[in-house]
Structure formats: C-alpha cells, structure tokens
Amino acid sequence: MIVTQCVPYVLNKSFTLNTLQSRLHGLDHWWRVWKNAQLLVADPYSSKADMEVVALYALFHDSMRQTDGSDTGHGDRGYKLFEQLSHTLGLGRYLTELQGELLLEACVNHSSGHRSIDPTIAVCWDADRLDLHRKGIWPDPRLMSTPVGIDMIVNRLRTPNGPKPYIQERTA
C-alpha cells in the first residue's frame, strides 16, 4: 500500500507527534481509526470504500494538530503534509485524481460533524467517530454515515446509551 511509504516521513514531520506529543490524537488513535475502518468494510455497503484512501486518511488526518482541542484547520494542514510528501515521492503516479480529491474532502471536513454518502469518505469519518470513546464520549448514531457504523453502536450493545463510563456525544 502507498501508505507504507508515507509512514517514516509522517513520523518525522508530524506536529501532533513531535511537538504536541499528543496521546489523544497520536499514533494510537491513527491505528484504531485503521482498525475500525477494517471492521466497517466487512459490511457490503462499506466494501465499496477505497481502502488506499482510507489508510492515507488514518495516517494524515490528525498528523498536524497544534492542540488537542477543536484546532481549526488541522485537517487542511494534514492534507498539505500529504501533498508535500506526494510531490517529493511522486505519489501522483500511483493515485488517481479522484483518490486525491476524496482524501482532500475526508481530511479537510473530518471535524465538521458532517455525514457523507460517498462510501470512502463515510468509512473514514465513521472509523474516526468510532474512536471518540477514547475521550469518554459514546458516538451519536445520528452522526454516523454507514449502516454498519450505526448498527455497531446501536444494536450490538445491550446496554442502552453506551457502556457505563461514557457520556453521550452532543449533536450540533
């Protein structure tokens, strides 16, 4: 996968890892977003997602955070880091224009509380939202984009409104 070529560069350049040294939005989070995405694409609806783009999203979307708060524009900065690397390594040869556009949309708007009907962006955002539980927040099914994501947090759990230590996500 293309993402494997990007990992050393991101580890070196990531503001989130090297300057902010965030645990909330750092390596653990990126790994769980990728694991969540793999669970989501097991569903037929989400199986149309482009996992090459999803993997790049997991690596770049929170790579350039300056704070652990709302941090306006961090998705944009994450995508710009990808662009720099893409230019250096010539990744344009391996990614289509559509894949680049999907990654841009997924990164830039991932913290806006939107839903998407595009399977790739939907998987990116749901995989990210499913990791809100690390902050003690149980995801709101109304903000999920994929049927399997909704099913995961509504139907597979026998405790109503999430397990005990969590608070409910606030809808905008």
Partner: protein, 78 residues
C-alpha cells in the same frame, strides 16, 4: 459448563492479549476478580473491578469495548 458471559469475557481477553499484551496484563487481575465474583454470584464485590475494566477498555477499538460490555452484562454486572 461456562456461561455465555464467561465465554465472551474469555474471547475478549484473548483478543486483547494478542493486540495489546501490556493492556492485557493490566486488565487480567480485574478480569479474574470479575469472573470469580460472578461464579460466587457476588456481583457487589466484583462491581469495582468491572468498572475499572470498562475504563481501561477505552484504549481499545470500540468493538472490543462492546464485546466487554456485553460480557459484563451477561455476567450480571450493571
């Protein structure tokens, strides 16, 4: 014959052990406490351990938290 809750808890522990051995170590004592107290039908004594397990599970992917919560519910913990 193990109950469905005990089987789920065991499956959960196996998953953690392979994906995050350090966290599995940190959770093992509480898992044993929860399992033993549920065998003795003494849910009051095991509730604190169950709460600690749920808090530690925040470091795992959400599906594993769901598996844990369902196992604890099946074992009789609130």
């Amino acid at each position: 014959m193990p109950t469905p809750g005990q089987v789920s808890l065991n499956n959960f522990y196996q998953s953690v052990r392979f994906s995050d051995p350090l966290l599995a170590c940190l959770m093992s004592e509480d898992i044993v406490s929860v399992a033993l107290n549920s065998l003795a039908l003494d849910h009051t004594s095991g509730q604190d351990a169950a709460n600690r397990l749920r808090a530690k599970a925040c470091d795992l992917p959400i599906l594993m938290c769901i598996v844990l919560d369902n196992a604890l519910t099946d074992l009789g913990y609130s």
